[in-house]
């Protein structure tokens, strides 16, 4: 289990980081970094085992049915990448303690830790499924670390997400193919499967998928654009993720999959070509940049290109070179990124030309930067020189004709001239050529930041003289990438006079020339840039796609009625009638069971048929609603006649709730439906009748022609025994199929939340437009009332005297309903009842409360509905987890006896159901019941000079209510449409001269004096 400690430490850190940051603020980096170091130390035994030629493995079962395991296997590749992730990570975290602003910085530390954990899991796992999940987690963490840097990071983070997720999808497809082809999720077994040698076509396809997935992550052309974009993130993030870790995940993937694909020509060709193009383009673009950090990003792109090309070569030496350059690059580039932060802190800018001349002010930074860039440029005797030489040697081993090898070497060397040039630009641009600025205007050179920025760079200096030791680390990695080989790369600073050395000498010579004419060179490169960048390309593609989407929407858009529904229904009708005809033509249907229909079915059919006609053809909305509710009640009776008492109760109560909500909605809508041309309606009618024949025919042909199913008999025989409940339908809902119910209550809650979410994106004036903008104008009342002030006028137009009786009744009926609701809830296990039904009875209290107030007011505290919904889902979820932990299966109930009464955790699950239902009902009453009805001569509208007018001045309106469900009591509707949090002004707006009413309905329960304004 060696190595497990490392993963466990990181997992523990993920759990504890919120606590740590709450206590230590930005200084948390010290502690978290120390744990990284500890994790690295804990990894030493595993490292030693690997260096000795061993590969420690362990696995925990995860999805036994699919043979997926939490399998880990430590090999040379994992060792190199784990150490990079942990040690560079530690340095970056120490650095962050002084880079970050003071404060908790939770999201930064948490995401960094989560990232490290997923990165280490990625490089150590031996299971393809785990590998894919860890891969996606690194993408997500990278996305969020960019997105957390505020509005400037929004667009770049999404572009990053887009590109890396394209790679993720490709990897998923590749993993799926690999599992399908080799029949295992074990990485070692899958990649060494004989399948690959035997099937070149399939191998090529999978190799390309993996290669492109890796190229998206490692920012290879044409996917390189996300990396410069990602510079919107904080500098420590760039130093860690964008120099050492996340971009190296792509490199890791290529090395990991090399065993299967390193001899596949498409793999070699794609990687070498893309790698060399990337390294050249990256170098060129780096020189275009005016921003030091963007330059660094392109330089990373360029260096990664070199590594990818080496992996593409696929020989022993090439893979050793790739691993070697990965180590060297991680050291100097993370250090240089951190130096960008140091320079930024001193000079207050990262723009070339504005960065002051710093070498006098910050001599140590100057020296460290020179060493780092010299290593990157490949100047002997630094580590970067040795690694680049090795890569050049590898490039000469390019498969195919010898000339190709030379070509690759020349391309690599030419690109390295650009590398040398931008290294010079870094040094001269930020330390030498800048304007002289008086020292007092500059920031200080932060000691801590400088120390940890310098650490990786300075650590690489002695390493260059310990290459035989370093080789011991590189060789197992290369050997793991090419199983069955025994690489001897002979890493050294001096290989004798070789073509590579000559190339290096030429690069340096060209570089020195560039330094001498640097002003002109920089001007040339600043001008020699494309008029667009990758971000623009992505934007154009996005815009084209959205235009295409808008086009597609127009095909089914609402401006042409409901053709989309017609298409769906029409197809369904074709399938059902066609299917029915085929079945009847070829087969004898089994005999129907006897006694399928009862006399009551006939009666109900007649009544339902009559009501359906009324709903369909009535132009009055009110009539249609009445007919609809009639159908609901008839359906209830039909269900009762079929023998489903629970469903009957539910249907009855749901029907009542639906009708109340429809009434709330109708008060705001015109009184009649529009009239449509007859021809149009006839066409609709024909389609409707055909659909009815199809569906009815299918039901006739397919139902009622067998005995009761086995599963029905199983439930009838076994369910009471297993669950201890006699009401089999209820125990199916809360025990046997509780996951369905859990999904259902989530849908229920989501509906409520979705209403709030949609409403809060529409401005007040569009939700509730003035009556004059609604097709039906305010109408005159049918009866002319006596003048205002007279008793007759008050009796009709004032609401509050009319609800006194109702209020008195609620005080009696409310408690009775509450008790009934509780009883129904409790008895649900054995007799008809349960959470849903009880909750609907409870909701009736809400309905009564709503109707007993003379003016519209929110029932309950403003945020109660959402808390109820969220709480309900949470309670159900927790019950499920309790079942998972103690009974071994999610949502499995635990039975017990309390005070002699049978009790099971499914009862707690039912509480969750109850809460979610009440939450949804509250949402609908509080939002749809707002009293700004535009033209109905009822409620609070007032009759003035013979016309009805709205009287909504001191009322909450829909939008205000919506926002209050999220933000609590507000002073008025918010003006935003994108979910921005309310400002102080939204909470305290200048009150109008109207006295605001107490908006809660609590007084009804307590019976205290109504705080209402009479006339």
């Amino acid at each position: 289990m060696t190595g497990l400690v490392t993963l466990a430490l990181l997992a523990g850190l993920v759990a504890l980081t919120p606590v740590v940051t709450a206590l230590a603020g930005r200084a948390s980096g010290w502690l978290i970094g120390a744990v990284y170091v500890a994790a690295a130390i804990a990894f030493i035994p595993a490292t030693q085992a690997v260096l000795a030629g061993d590969t420690p493995e362990w696995a925990l079962p995860w999805m036994p049915a699919l043979n997926v395991e939490l399998a880990f296997r430590i090999d040379g590749i994992g060792v190199v990448f784990t150490h990079i992730a942990l040690l560079i990570g530690a340095a970056v975290l120490f650095y962050s303690t002084h880079y970050l602003d003071k404060g908790r910085n939770l999201s930064f530390y948490w995401l960094m830790v989560a990232f490290t954990f997923s990165m280490v899991a990625l490089v150590l796992t031996n299971d393809l499924v785990v590998l894919f999940i860890a891969w996606e987690l690194t993408s997500l963490a990278s996305f969020m670390l960019i997105a957390r840097s505020g509005s400037s990071g929004e667009a770049p983070s999404f572009r990053t997400l887009l590109i890396t997720f394209i790679g993720g999808v490709l990897l998923l497809v590749a993993v799926g193919f690999i599992i399908a082809f080799t029949g295992t999720t074990n990485i070692v077994a899958a990649l060494t499967d004989p399948f690959w040698a035997a099937n070149p076509a399939a191998t090529t396809a999978v190799a390309l998928l993996v290669a492109i997935a890796a190229m998206t992550k490692s920012a290879q052309f044409p996917f390189h654009t996300w990396l410069p974009d990602a510079m919107a993130a904080a500098t420590p993030v760039s130093a860690y993720l964008h120099a050492a870790a996340v971009v190296k995940a792509g490199i890791f993937l290529l090395i990991r999959f090399s065993p299967a694909f390193h001899t596949t020509p498409a793999w070699n060709g794609l990687l070498i070509t893309a790698g060399l193009i990337t390294t050249a383009l990256g170098g060129w673009f780096a020189l275009n940049q005016a921003d030091l950090k963007k330059l660094m990003a392109y330089s990373t792109v360029s260096q990664l290109g070199l590594i990818v090309a080496a992996i593409g070569v696929g020989s022993e030496l090439a893979l050793a070179a790739a691993v070697f350059h990965v180590i060297a690059h991680a050291l100097f580039k993370s250090g240089l990124f951190m130096m960008v932060g140091v320079v930024d802190h001193i000079g207050h800018t990262r723009m070339f030309g504005r960065i002051p001349q710093l070498f006098r002010v910050a001599p140590i930074s100057f020296a460290v930067t020179i060493i780092g860039t010299a290593s990157m440029a490949g100047i002997p005797p630094l580590l970067g020189f040795a690694s680049k030489e090795t890569v050049f040697m590898a490039l000469r081993e390019t498969p195919g004709a010898a000339a190709l090898g030379w070509l690759a070497l020349i391309a690599g060397a030419a690109a390295s001239v650009l590398t040398f040039a931008y290294c010079a630009k870094i040094v001269f641009g930020s330390f030498v050529d800048g304007p002289e600025v008086p020292a007092e205007k500059l920031g200080h050179e932060d000691r801590v930041m400088l120390t940890f920025a310098a650490l990786p760079i300075l650590a690489s200096v002695p390493l260059a003289f310990m290459l035989p030791t370093l080789e011991k680390l590189v060789v197992p990695a290369a050997a793991a990438a090419l199983p069955g080989t025994d690489p001897h790369p002979h890493l050294a600073l001096w290989h004798g006079i070789s073509p590579e050395l000559i190339a290096s000498a030429l690069i340096i010579a060209a570089g020195i020339v560039i330094i001498l004419i640097r002003q002109r060179a920089w001007e040339f490169f600043t001008a020699a840039t494309l008029p667009f960048n990758g971000a623009d390309v992505i934007d154009v593609i996005t815009r084209l796609l959205s235009r295409l989407g808008a086009r597609a929407t127009r095909l089914i858009g609402d401006e042409r009625g409901a053709p989309h529904a017609a298409a769906i229904v029409g197809l369904m009708t074709v399938v059902s009638i066609g299917g029915l005809a085929t079945v009847l033509a070829d087969h004898e249907l089994p005999a129907a069971q006897a006694n399928l229909s009862r006399p009551i079915d006939f009666v109900l059919l007649g009544l339902i048929g009559f009501s359906v006609i009324a709903v369909c053809f009535s132009r009055s909305r009110m009539t249609a609603t009445v007919a609809l509710s009639a159908i609901g009640i008839l359906a209830t009776i039909q269900i009762m006649a079929i023998g489903a008492p629970d469903v009957t109760l539910t249907q009855l109560l749901v029907e009542a709730m639906t009708i109340i909500v429809i009434m709330l909605v109708l008060q705001k809508l015109p009184r009649t439906f529009w009239k449509y041309p007859k021809r149009m309606q006839i066409r609709r009618g024909v389609l409707a009748i055909l659909a009815g024949i199809g569906v009815g025919g299918m039901t006739w042909a397919m139902a009622g022609r067998r005995e009761r199913s086995d599963i029905a008999m199983w439930y009838l025989n076994e369910a009471p025994e297993i669950s201890g409940g006699n009401n089999i339908v209820n125990v199916i809902l809360v025990e046997f199929r509780a996951l369905d119910t859990f999904g259902e209550l989530t849908v229920l809650g989501m509906a409520g939340i979705a209403i709030v979410a949609v409403m809060s994106t529409v401005r007040d004036k569009y939700i509730d437009p003035p009556a004059s903008e609604v097709p039906e104008m305010p109408r005159r009342p049918w009866i002319v009332l006596r003048p205002r002030g007279s008793m007759a006028h008050r009796a009709v137009s004032l609401a509050w005297p009319n609800v006194v009786a109702m209020q008195l009744m609620v005080r009696i009926v409310g408690p009775i309903l509450a008790i009934t609701s509780a009883l129904i809830f409790w008895r649900g296990h054995n007799e008809p009842g349960g959470g849903f039904i009880a909750a609907l009875v409870g909701s009736a209290i809400v309905g009564l409360l709503y109707m007993s107030t003379s003016k519209d007011r929110a029932i309950g505290p403003p945020r109660a509905p959402l808390f109820l919904i969220g709480g309900g889902v949470l309670v159900a979820l927790l019950t499920g987890i309790v079942g998972l932990i103690f009974a071994g299966s999610f949502l499995e109930p635990i039975h017990g006896y309390i005070l002699g009464e049978h009790f099971s955790t499914s009862l707690i699950f039912d509480v969750g159901v109850y809460m979610a239902v009440v939450g949804l009902i509250l949402v609908s009453f509080n939002l749809l019941g707002t009293s700004d009805s535009a033209f109905t001569p009822a409620g609070d509208d007032v009759l003035y000079l013979g016309e009805m007018h709205r009287d909504v001045v001191d009322h909450e309106r829909t939008r205000e209510r919506t926002d209050e469900m999220v933000h609590g009591e507000l002073a008025g509707p918010m003006e935003n449409m994108r979910g921005e949090p309310p400002t102080a002004e939204d909470y305290f707006r200048e009150e109008s001269d109207h006295t605001r009413l107490s908006r809660s309905s609590r007084h009804i329960g307590s019976g205290t004096q109504m705080k209402e304004r009479g006339e």
């Binding site: 235009r547 609402d558 409901a562 229904v569 023998g643 809508l669 009815g692 569906v695």
Partner: protein, 110 residues
Amino acid sequence: MILAVTVGVLTAGGVYLLLQRSMVRAVFGLTLISHAANFALLASGVPAWRGEPLADRTDIAVAADPLPQAFVLTAIVITLAVTIFMLAMAVLGHDDDQYRTPETGEAHQQ
């Protein structure tokens, strides 16, 4: 089976309403269609057995299939949720019978 005819009638009415432009009518149509779907589900439990599936009261020999009942109960509640959601959308702008997408104040890309 008479229930099949009821399913057919409800479906026909539901589809007719669903094809109307008025949002409220479409919602009514979906309500009818969901009644039809619920009956079809219940019919799959073979309505020749119509005893309430309560273990202590009903002889198993006549008890109805409880599984479709559980499905229908779930379906009814989901219908309630979806209906309320659609009604809330219908009420935006106080006019559900129109050709254009309701105004939200946000500029739409066309």
